[in-house]
């Protein structure tokens, strides 16, 4: 700038001077600018700036401020309405020139570039701004490009739709090279502008780049899907990449999308107009997918495709027939129709294939496959063959692999090709099996086939071969040995073999077979029984019994029960009483180890044997032993039998002892029953007093509120056989028993409620068994004894409910009761009301008299019959109970 053209005012002088003094001081220049920047004369400001940057062209500070000032100025001009367009353009070009000049020195300053670019962009000078951006990119180091690209991209994006697409693409391509992460945006841009081919290429590049991190958090998988969608939708547009290869790669890589991807591939071919290729792809897909979900997806698409094809051809044919009626077209539509039907028909088979691909060891699916191929024997054979080759018996699921072999053989058998069936069985016998049982199954099936078609000797020889022992000793449970080596100990095979030997072989061969089974220790009790029965049928009785003995030695209780039973029955049948001592030994041997709960039938058999062939006394002895041995819940029926037998063998009178024993040893519920029957018996025998004693004894276990039946029976008895006194006596006992039961603390409301259903209660007691009722009973009795004095009071309390007469005598009753307690201290609380009747010992007689009198008075009507009753009753109970007591003594 020419120094002469410098124009300044008066007040500027000091600044000018300072500048003259310090022309290289940025500060003084800035001060000057500040001084002038009042907005009145922008030209002057610009002049000063110009002078400044001329002096100091390397000062960023000055340039930056100057350029900003210029831009502001230009903007102000642009906004003010009264500025002409030409003026504005001039101003702008001056500003731009200033920028250009600045950049000569400031080309390394990104800020300047950015501001310039933005300024140009604002001016709408697209090409210039683009060039500016390009220059900026060239001059700035790579590390600072980050700041440039966003506005640059904004620019090109903005103008891309308006004829600058190609330029925009080039810019974006450069950007993508600079920053690969921006590819996704680029792809979107390309898609937006229908540049599918390039979009796909970029997408492929993204997917191939292992280090690529999606800025939108998309997974590789999602990108794949996007790519496949793109490819399948636009088969014609995309030419740069091999779409088929890509989709196939996707199929192999993304197993969860296989169905979709296959469909996409087919669609790709379809859209490319390649119908037969599409069909091939569908077929291939159906043949390779491994999940039912993928299968149905592909199948549905395939069916839809075929159907669409059919429809299309039909429509075309309709139109065609209207016009010409071309036979070739109708043929084509027929063919398409057939294809469609064929596809639908094949569905179950294809599905089965899918399941088999999923799990080739699924035995039922193989069987199903054979069924599906019902009319095609050659394919069925192929399927069987494949099945037996593929299925690993150790992995076989939902079925046994050996059934495949046997079905295979049966298939040939069904078609009358026995020799081939045999071949299959031969191979099956040599093949691997999971368990010995499976192999045995194969052999049994083979033998059964031989039985169906030929002489039994063949089956027999076959099984004999199967059970042949291997050359070395093998443990049956040793899994490391092949099943073939362990087969000779298979129970199944041997059972079948001995069955056949028994039916078709000779006795000697059958015996040899059975003996070997016993030697191998694989026989079951049933086998032993079969063996013995076979021998018996051939009249080899002693041999049969030896077999039983052998079997019994082999097994333990309770498995041996059936064996013993059969042995003993057959032995008794055979010898009857001829070998009684041996039979007895056998029974003793059997009962020695027999558990108590299983011993009943043996005791009965033993007793029967003794009754029929031995001595009645021995029989009774057996019954006695049985009653000792049997568990409590089995005793009652045994007593029944015993009583019946005794009545039959020794006479009714001998049953008394048994009854007594039964009543004594059985639990209360059953004892009651026996008491009633005992009493009935005595009544029938005319022994009224004995019967009465029994009733009286039983009364102590019969609560009148729960066991009305008993009391009713006694009453009936007294009405029929007794006198008024005895009846009264009975009522007295009843009352005292009621009192006794009500003293028990355990007698609760629940028990009272149960009184209505006494029968059911009895049953419950029966089923409860000894273990549950006995301790309870003992507890009750204990309480009853300890609460005796109190109990008496309760009697009185209870009596208060009776008619008024009772109340009068109540104190007397209390007194006598008290005396009773005092007397019976030594006897361990024997002051039970029942005791008055039955405890007819000499020591207690006074007691019972006194008690009797008391109760008599309580009964309102006092008469002198009390003593008579005592006299007539005394001897009988002493007999009854005496014998009982004796028995119990003996027992203990």
């Amino acid at each position: 700038m020419d120094p002469g053209s410098i124009f300044f005012e008066e007040e500027d002088l000091p600044y000018e001077e300072e500048i003259l003094r310090n022309p290289y001081s940025v500060k003084s220049w800035l001060r000057y600018v500040e001084h002038k920047a009042d907005g009145r004369r922008p030209v002057a400001v610009c002049q000063i700036y110009e002078r400044a940057v001329k002096q100091l062209p390397g000062s960023y500070k000055l340039w930056y401020r100057y350029l900003r000032y210029r831009r502001l100025l230009a903007r102000a001009r642009a906004n003010s309405p009264d500025v002409s367009d030409a003026d504005l353009q001039a101003e702008l070009s001056v500003a731009n020139a200033a920028h250009e000049r600045a950049l000569v020195h400031m080309h390394k300053m990104p800020r300047i570039w950015l501001d310039y670019c933005r300024f140009l962009t604002r001016q709408g000078r697209i090409t210039e701004s683009r060039r500016a951006f390009d220059r900026a990119l060239r001059s700035l180091p790579l590390t600072q490009h980050d700041r440039l690209w966003p506005p640059y991209l904004r620019l090109v994006r903005l103008h891309a739709p308006h004829g600058c697409l190609e330029t925009a693409l080039r810019v974006l391509r450069r950007y993508v090279r600079f920053k690969p992460e921006g590819r996704e945006d680029f792809v979107d841009f390309l898609l937006e502008h229908q540049r599918l081919d390039e979009a796909v290429a970029n997408l492929v590049a993204i997917i191939n780049d292992d280090s690529f991190q999606s800025s939108r958090g998309k997974s590789k998988h999602a990108l794949w899907q996007e790519l496949c969608n793109l490819l399948s939708r636009n088969p014609l547009e995309v030419t740069s990449v091999n779409a088929e290869a890509i989709i196939r790669q996707g199929i192999s890589r993304y197993t969860d999308q296989v169905g979709r991807l296959w469909t996409a591939l087919a669609e790709w071919h379809l859209r490319a107009g390649n119908i037969s290729r599409a069909r091939d792809v569908f077929e291939e897909a159906l043949a390779t997918v491994t999940t039912v979900r993928d299968f149905s997806q592909v199948f549905d698409a395939s069916a839809e495709f075929e159907e669409g094809l059919v429809r299309q051809l039909m429509e075309a044919a309709e139109e065609g027939s209207a016009a010409a009626g071309d036979s070739e077209e109708s043929l084509e539509s027929d063919l398409a129709m057939l294809r469609f039907e064929h596809l639908i028909e094949r569905r179950p088979l294809l599905l089965n294939s899918v399941l088999l691909r999923q799990n080739p060891h699924c035995v039922p699916e193989w069987h199903k496959r054979v069924q599906l191929l019902a009319d095609r024997p050659a394919e069925q054979i192929g399927t069987y063959m494949e099945a037996v080759k593929t299925v690993d018996p150790h992995k076989a699921s939902a079925g046994r692999a050996c059934t495949l072999w046997t079905e295979f053989a049966k298939f040939y058998e069904k078609h009358d090709q026995l020799s081939d069936a045999r071949t299959v069985f031969e191979k099956a016998a040599a093949a691997d099996h999971r368990t010995v049982d499976d192999l045995a199954y194969v052999w049994c099936q083979w033998a059964e086939m031989e039985l169906r078609h030929g002489p039994p000797e063949k089956a027999l020889a076959l099984l004999a071969k199967a059970v042949a022992p291997p050359s070395h000793k093998v443990d049956f449970y040793d899994r490391s040995e092949p099943v073939q080596a362990r087969l000779h100990k298979s129970l199944k095979l041997w059972s079948f073999y001995v069955d056949l030997e028994e039916s078709y072989g000779t006795l000697a061969t059958a015996r040899a077979a059975y003996d070997r089974m016993l030697d191998l220790q694989i026989a079951t009790p049933q086998i032993v029984i079969n063996y013995a029965v076979m021998l018996e049928e051939s009249a080899y009785f002693e041999e049969a019994f030896r077999v039983y003995e052998r079997g019994i030695a082999l097994f333990k209780w309770p498995n041996v029960e059936e064996l013993w039973k059969t042995y003993l029955i057959h032995f008794s049948d055979r010898y009857g009483g001829a070998k009684l001592e041996r039979a007895r030994d056998l029974f003793e041997q059997c009962l020695e180890h027999c558990p108590a709960e299983l011993s009943r039938p043996f005791f009965l058999l033993y007793a029967k044997l003794e009754e029929e062939h031995g001595l009645a006394k021995r029989a009774m002895n057996v019954y006695e032993r049985a009653l000792e041995r049997l568990p409590a819940n089995q005793r009652a029926p045994m007593f029944n039998i015993y009583i019946n037998r005794v009545a039959e063998l020794l006479g009714v009178t001998h049953t008394r002892a048994v009854y007594e024993k039964a009543i004594e040893s059985l639990p209360d519920a059953e004892a009651r029953e026996f008491c009633l029957r005992f009493a009935e018996l005595e009544t029938r025998l005319g022994e009224v007093d004995r019967a009465r004693a029994v009733y009286a004894y039983c009364a102590q276990i019969c609560d009148p509120r729960l066991h009305e039946q008993f009391w009713h029976a006694w009453q009936e008895f007294e009405i029929a056989n007794g006198s008024e006194e005895t009846l009264r006596e009975m009522l007295r006992v009843k009352r005292s028993v009621t009192a006794a039961f009500s003293t028990q603390l355990n007698y609760t409301a629940a028990a009272a409620a149960a009184a209505g259903s006494a029968d059911s209660d009895d049953q419950a007691e029966d089923s409860a068994g000894p273990s549950s009722s006995d301790p309870m009973r003992a507890l009750e009795q204990q309480q009853q004894q300890s609460a005796q004095p109190k109990g008496i009071l309760f009697v009185r309390g209870k009596d208060q409910e009776q008619p008024a007469g009772v109340m009068r005598t109540a104190p007397a009753a209390a007194e006598s009761a008290a005396s009773g307690v005092a007397n019976s201290n030594g006897a361990g609380g024997k002051a039970n009301p029942e005791e008055l009747q039955i405890g007819g010992d000499d020591d207690d007689s006074e007691d019972s008299d006194a008690g009797g009198e008391v109760m008599e008075e309580a009964g309102e009507d006092s008469d002198g019959g009390g003593e008579n009753i005592e006299i007539s009753e005394l001897p009988v109970p002493s007999e009854v109970l005496g014998s009982l007591a004796k028995d119990s003594d003996d027992e203990s």
Partner: protein, 236 residues
């Protein structure tokens, strides 16, 4: 998958035939007749099958004949058979049964039965006075055997009958209807029983034997040979 197809029949897959087991498989031991002088098996060797036969050992007979006599017969017979090789029988014996198949588990029961059947049999003196040629059942071999003289046959036939009764207990085939009791000494391959020259030679030898009153031994034990096991039963 390839099939071996034949018309009308369903095919059997080759894969199946190639699998181990059965006729085509590896388990069937290869039978090489050359390994045992050209003899072939009448029934295949199989696990669990025990070839069993009952006989009286006749080693004493060989002693009595003298080794050189048998040797001279052998060479003469070989010449008569047009140079075919004639082998001596390893252990000469008087067969009392056919060779039958027993199962392993039947052996013990069978020998027990045999023992009880032979329990009270007496020793029988055996005299042979004739050399004959006998083909085996399937005519693959010919045995040259000393046939028992007619007067000594009945005692042995009784033994045979006892053995037969044990056989029939197990459903096994009994001895031939018209038993030609004999002690085999030599054998050769093929059926030579009808050769004229052989016949003539045999007749000569038989004549010599008969004139010298035959050779004999005392059958005092019966042997039951089952596979590689031997069970002896002494006769009283």
């Amino acid at each position: 998958m390839s099939f071996s197809s034949s018309s009308g029949r369903l095919p059997v897959p080759q894969d199946l035939l190639a699998m181990p087991g059965g006729v085509g498989g590896a388990s069937a031991a290869a039978d090489d007749p050359l390994a045992h002088q050209g003899r072939t098996r009448s029934f295949p060797a199989e696990r669990g099958q025990w070839a069993t036969s009952v006989h009286c050992p006749a080693g004493e007979l060989l002693d009595e004949l003298g080794e050189h006599r048998v040797e001279s017969w052998r060479s003469a017979l070989s010449a008569a058979c047009h140079g075919a090789e004639v082998h001596p029988v390893d252990s000469p014996h008087l067969s009392l049964s056919r060779t039958v198949i027993l199962r392993h588990h039947q052996i013990a029961a069978y020998t027990d039965a045999l023992r009880s059947k032979l329990a009270d049999s007496a020793c029988c003196p055996v005299v042979a006075d004739k050399l004959i040629a006998l083909p085996n059942d399937d005519c693959t071999r010919t045995f040259f055997a000393l046939r028992l003289a007619e007067h000594s046959a009945p005692a042995c036939e009784q033994l045979v009958a006892r053995v037969d009764s044990a056989m029939s207990l197990f459903g096994l085939p009994v001895y031939y209807d018209q038993p030609q009791l004999h002690v085999s000494l030599l054998w050769t391959l093929g059926d030579r029983s009808q050769d004229r020259s052989v016949q003539r030679l045999l007749d000569d030898i038989s004549g010599d034997l008969a004139s010298s009153g035959g050779v004999g031994f005392l059958a005092d034990q019966v042997v039951c040979r089952s596979g590689n096991k031997e069970f002896m039963f002494s006769l009283s």
